[in-house]
């Protein structure tokens, strides 16, 4: 078996056992990137030299018997939303094209301490806003299963690079499904932990009450190992949860006994693609064969999840992205040219205000502008109560639906996406229809509960389908064990694109 087809857990184990070196592993993935990425477009930057140097140092330490970190020699990629000290962190935006953070995100620092090897930064929808990776200001990323299709988003680069064997692991972020949806569309495993499980320090903010970092890998065992390294309280993020981190990688292979799975009838109503529904129903039969009981539950506010999500996410984004003013960092318009042009439609603005308006107009792409506009509108005088406050109230009703469901069942199971991957360009002009496809994933961000996407089959056209499992807040251990039971009984996650 090739190193690029080996799981993260097995790579780490082989490194410890001396079956291969960190340099050999890094070189295999870098070669794969050189050969494959020109057609996929997952990487925004490849740090080949730095990765090899890092791998050499780890090998040298191991050879001389010095202690090494838990992931020593494991290569991985980072979504370009995670701050990396003195290396570009673009967020897929012209606004941050030349931004080099003066610090590492806490998650990046933890991976460094664990001696993971950084292969590079991967593509994403601008500021993590989008479901197809087409909102990146720099390049399109293609689905390794069909190059005419989108990889999903916003962590499209993460899912595509893992599916194409260019990295065994990638770290993404999930605000409304941005880890789970691309994982489903690319046939890999993606975890969104409980809100606050992983520190958000150094994760460039989109919607702060919803954002959460999550790993993408080829199996549940792999994402369990990464969660174990990334999770934990961080004094630099006051919303990070101060609770012990269970040894996920040690318990993941223990099947759950007397498992009761819930299916929400709202998840099988109109709009669900036939192939997706059959694959999910087949997955339920697999669970039944493993002794699980399936129980129907109701999530009466589910039809309002997308509306609630987009109001809250856009309000928070309009506030968070107000920091991009062309003053402290990020793009600034050519001020002398602006002044030379003289007056415009905003005649009564000062030159400083015009600089803000024009810098932001030039630095942000269409989807980011749309969301800032929607959020600004919903927060503006006269609309705040009707939109933002109402959305926060419906958010609690949605959470109560889930709390009630989890009194009866251990995990909720359903589809990740109503369809498989669509063609590039198909939905670019129709933002609302793109938003509506997030209907199954956004609730976990509104409620804070952990959720995972695991491969569960293919469409007749050969595109991957994802199974969505959700657990109550802080129950990652249950979620991972339940998801592993399915992977242990199936081989969908071992399929690779040609």
């Amino acid at each position: 078996m090739q190193l690029t087809e080996t799981s993260a857990v097995d790579l780490v184990e082989g490194l410890q056992a001396g079956r291969w070196t960190a340099v050999e592993v890094a070189r295999s993935f870098l070669e794969r990137i050189s050969g494959k990425d020109p057609e996929i477009g997952a990487f925004l930057q490849v740090h080949a030299d730095a990765a090899l140097e890092q791998a050499e140092r780890i090998d040298a330490r191991r050879a001389t018997g010095k202690s090494v970190g838990k992931l020593a020699g494991l290569p991985l990629s980072l979504k370009d939303v995670l701050c990396t000290r003195s290396q570009p962190t673009t967020c897929g935006s012209r606004m941050l094209e030349n931004f080099q953070p003066p610090f590492d995100a806490t998650s990046v620092a933890k991976l460094r301490d664990a001696d993971a090897v950084f292969l590079g930064k991967v593509n994403m929808d601008e500021f993590a806003m989008g479901s197809s990776c087409e909102n990146s200001a720099f390049q399109a990323t293609r689905n390794p299963w069909n190059l005419e299709c989108i990889p999903g988003g916003s962590s499209g680069g993460s899912a595509a690079c893992v599916a194409a064997g260019m990295a065994p692991i990638s770290i993404g972020s999930d605000t409304g499904g941005s880890v789970r949806q691309p994982a489903a569309l690319c046939g890999v495993t993606g975890l969104k932990p409980t809100y606050g499980r992983i520190s958000r320090y150094g994760l460039v903010a989109f919607a702060s009450s919803l954002d959460q970092i999550g790993p993408v890998g080829t199996s549940v065992r792999d994402v369990a190992l990464l969660l174990e390294v990334l999770a934990g309280h961080d004094p630099l993020d006051s919303t990070s949860i101060d609770a012990p981190v269970p040894p996920y990688s040690q318990t993941v292979e223990q099947p759950l006994k007397n498992l009761t799975l819930g299916i929400a009838k709202e998840h099988f109503e109109s709009g669900l693609d036939g192939d997706v529904e059959s694959a999910v129903r087949e997955a339920l039969r697999v669970y039944e064969s493993l002794g699980a009981t399936i129980k129907e539950v109701s999530l009466p506010h589910a039809p309002h999840a997308v509306g609630t999500y987009y109001i809250i996410a856009c309000c928070e984004c309009s506030s968070n992205l107000a920091r991009y003013d062309g003053v402290h960092y990020g793009h600034r318009t050519d001020v002398s040219q602006m002044l030379a042009e003289g007056g415009n439609s905003n005649d009564d603005l000062t030159p400083l205000e015009r600089m803000y308006c024009r810098s932001r107009a030039e630095g942000f792409g269409p989807e980011v502008k749309r969301r800032i506009m929607l959020g600004t509108y919903a927060l503006s005088a006269g609309y705040y109560d009707a939109y933002y406050l109402q959305a926060l109230k419906v958010r609690r009703l949605i959470r109560q639906d889930f709390d009630k469901a989890f009194e009866e069942v251990d995990l909720l199971v359903g589809p990740v996406m109503p369809t498989a991957a669509y063609k590039l360009g198909e939905k670019v002009e129709d933002p609302l229809s793109m938003y509506l496809s997030d209907l199954f994933t956004v609730s976990a961000n509104l409620t804070g509960q952990p959720a995972i996407s695991v491969p569960c089959g293919f469409t007749s056209g050969g595109l991957p389908i994802g199974l969505h499992l959700q657990a109550p807040p802080m129950e990652e251990e249950r979620l991972l064990r339940g998801a592993w039971m399915f992977q242990n009984a199936t081989d969908w996650h071992q399929r690779r694109p040609q």
Partner: protein
């Protein structure tokens, strides 16, 4: 309920976004569709429901109020589009 071009122009000013006439047209129509869609939330009975601002509701997270090293000035200024080694520079705010 669709949005007027004037309302969208006002929102663009609040959001500090200079939009071209073409952008204003497309955003007016797209925002109108999205606002019409999210309007459905008004049909939900939320009488007596507390707003939920955060997923894991935590309150009053304190740390010790101690002096700590902060970002050195040169690092804080390193990404600025314009600076004079001490301050960020911007176009004149007050008269000439």
């Amino acid at each position: 309920m669709s949005l007027s071009r004037e309302a969208v122009t006002k929102v663009a000013l609040l959001a500090r976004l200079e939009l071209t006439p073409e952008e204003l047209d497309s955003i007016t129509s797209q925002l109108g569709q999205i606002v019409d869609y999210v309007q459905q939330l008004s049909s939900v009975d939320t009488e007596g429901v507390e707003p939920m601002a955060h997923a894991m509701e935590q309150h009053n997270v304190f740390r010790a109020d101690e002096v700590r090293p902060s970002l050195p000035r040169e690092e804080a200024l390193a990404n600025a589009p314009r600076h004079n080694d001490e301050y960020y520079r911007v176009p004149a705010v007050l008269g000439d």
